[in-house]
């Protein structure tokens, strides 16, 4: 050991200290080439990891799509909820007009429409009910009515109580039980949706961590040797971080693209007016592709990247303590 080389080394050491295990260009090249070699070498495990991430994420997407569509149906139903206000027979036209204005300014009311008995009958004609109503001579059907649409369906009972006290109101007709049931279903579906998605998210992290753990265990020796030769933890870690990131992003992008296309085709095919769903339900209440996927795409990709990195790094952590 001659003293001059020793001094040289010391100088170099000071100069380099910043870069070691860091993200200099030289290191980045190394990390990426390591990552690709490792993925190619462990083709099977890499594929398994991607598929694991993909299957977890496809379930997350599917449950989100189902929940959001159930909510869409419920919202659509709520939006179409009307209270039909039947007016006393002996009301004058002016009194009816007064009632109309009273309804307009009442709490929780969005929209009021006057329907004359003639119009009411006309609406019924052609419907299955028309003959029955006419036959039963139920004059209620031939009263003057107002159709009232509410801001907040959840305040249905308060609003109806309020309206029934107005002068000239004979009776109110609305699907009270159905609405309450609907509100309850809507609450439950939202809660179930949140629970299912969070449970699946946690579950996918666990599954992915374990899948990647197998890959990392098979490389335990490699990590050990790197540490013996003097690699910093970050030098060992970076290729695993990049690998986890790639696996996660790929595992998220594939099911995302697949469900995106599938959903689009399905909605186009069966839920549009004239389509199969339209024929069954009578109205399109499904969320449009553009209302779901562009919004969840970044979240899903970041989520995939996150669980990939988390799984990869957490499963190698204990091997670093050498």
């Amino acid at each position: 050991m001659n003293p001059s080389t020793n001094k040289d080394k010391k100088k170099k050491k000071v100069k380099r200290k910043k870069e070691r295990g860091g993200l200099g260009l030289r290191n980045l090249t190394y990390y990426f080439s390591q990552t690709f070699k490792s993925i190619l070498r462990n083709k099977f495990m890499s594929l398994t990891s991607v598929l694991t991430v993909a299957s977890c994420i496809i379930i997350v997407i599917a449950s989100f799509v189902v929940v959001t569509n159930i909510n869409a149906v419920l919202e659509h139903w709520e939006d179409n909820l009307k209270i039909t206000v039947h007016v006393e027979d002996d009301l004058t036209a002016e009194q009816r007009d007064l009632l109309y204005h009273q309804l307009l300014v009442a709490d929780n009311i969005v929209y009021v429409q006057y329907i004359s008995p003639e119009e009411a009958l006309e609406n019924l004609i052609g419907s299955v009910l028309a003959d029955a109503v006419v036959a039963s001579e139920d004059h209620q059907q031939l009263r003057h009515t107002f159709e009232v649409i509410l801001y907040d369906t959840r305040a249905l009972s308060e609003t109806s109580q309020n309206l029934s006290g107005f002068f000239g109101v004979y009776t109110l007709v609305y699907p009270a039980d159905a609405t309450e049931a609907l509100i309850r279903i809507s609450n439950v579906v939202t809660i179930i949706g949140i629970v299912v998605v969070s449970v699946l998210a946690v579950l996918s992290v666990v599954i992915i961590t374990n899948t990647i753990k197998l890959t990392v265990n098979s490389r335990r020796n490699e990590i050990l040797i790197m540490k013996y030769v003097g690699a910093t933890n970050w030098f060992v870690r970076w290729p695993f971080v990049i690998e986890g990131l790639l696996i996660g992003v790929l595992g998220a992008a594939i099911p995302l693209a697949a469900t995106w296309v599938l959903y689009d085709v399905t909605i186009e095919g069966i839920a549009q007016p004239g389509g199969l769903m339209a024929a069954l339900i009578g109205d399109t209440t499904f969320r449009a592709t553009g209302d779901i996927f562009p919004f969840i795409a970044p979240i899903i990709i970041i989520f995939g990247a996150g669980i990939g990195i988390l799984g990869s790094v957490s499963s190698m952590r204990r091997h670093l303590n050498v």
Binding site: M1, N2, T5, N6, K9, K13, R16, E19, R20, G21, G24, R26, N27, Y30, K37, R41, N221, E222, L224, I225, M226, K227, Y228, V229, G230, A231, T232, N233, F235, V322
Partner: protein, 230 residues
């Protein structure tokens, strides 16, 4: 260069690795560490690498107290020390060239430095023709020469060897010993744990004998069994 003071390592299960070891090894020395199986030779090497922490005592390398080093400093300590093991410990998925280059990449060498130094070291250990081979395509002796090349490519002041000839036949073992001698002659301090009494006897270097974790003998230019080890 290396100073070990009152060093004791007791493993978690209570077995005694080394006990109250005091040693000073000067720059440029060649030191054999001998002793029966379980006498503490590997433990001594491991505490120098800081693979294990001491239970008691201190170790100084180049006057620096490495006992106080934190986890972050260990990699930099190890770059000052080449290591060679009985079982070679090469990366199986890298070629001979890549295994050696790897030690330089870790130390953040430029690719120009790598292209210059790796072939030099490989030809020094006689592996220039095998640089594209993978470890499983090499004989034991060749694998150990590759490990040796990796250990010295960054020009470490200290080279630690734990039974480097343990898996090799006598002729191959002597090839390795000649390389170690050459490395030592260039100024590198070499510490080698071994059972190979014939090598120790022939080399006439300093011999530290261990028994039950204690240093029981320390002889300049000694042999494996200068006196009985009782």
């Amino acid at each position: 260069m290396i100073k070990i003071a009152n060093a004791t390592k007791i493993y978690e299960n209570g077995s005694r690795g080394i006990q109250d070891v005091n040693l000073t090894i000067e720059k440029g020395e060649f030191v054999f560490v001998v002793g029966l199986s379980g006498s503490g030779k590997s433990t001594l090497i491991k505490i120098l690498l800081k693979e294990l922490d001491l239970s008691e005592g201190e170790i100084f390398i180049n006057e620096e107290n490495i006992t106080l080093y934190g986890k972050n400093q260990i990699p930099y300590l190890r770059r000052k020390m080449g290591v060679v093991f009985q079982d070679f410990r090469l990366l199986p998925n890298k070629t001979v060239y890549e295994n050696v280059a790897f030690a330089m990449q870790i130390a953040d060498a430029s690719s120009r430095e790598i292209r210059r130094n790796v072939p030099t070291v490989l030809s020094m250990v006689g592996l220039q023709k095998k640089s594209k081979a993978y470890p499983n395509q090499l004989s034991g002796g060749e694998q150990q020469r590759c490990a040796l090349a990796r250990a010295i490519v960054n020009n470490p002041p200290i080279l630690l060897c734990d039974e480097p000839t343990g898996n090799l036949d006598p002729d191959t073992a002597w090839d390795i010993m000649n390389l170690l001698d050459e490395i030592n002659n260039r100024g590198t301090t070499v510490v080698m744990a071994t059972h190979a009494w014939d090598i120790v006897d022939a080399m006439k270097k300093r011999v530290i004998s261990m028994k039950n974790g204690f240093v029981v003998r320390d002889i300049e230019r000694g042999g494996y069994n200068n006196e009985s080890l009782d």
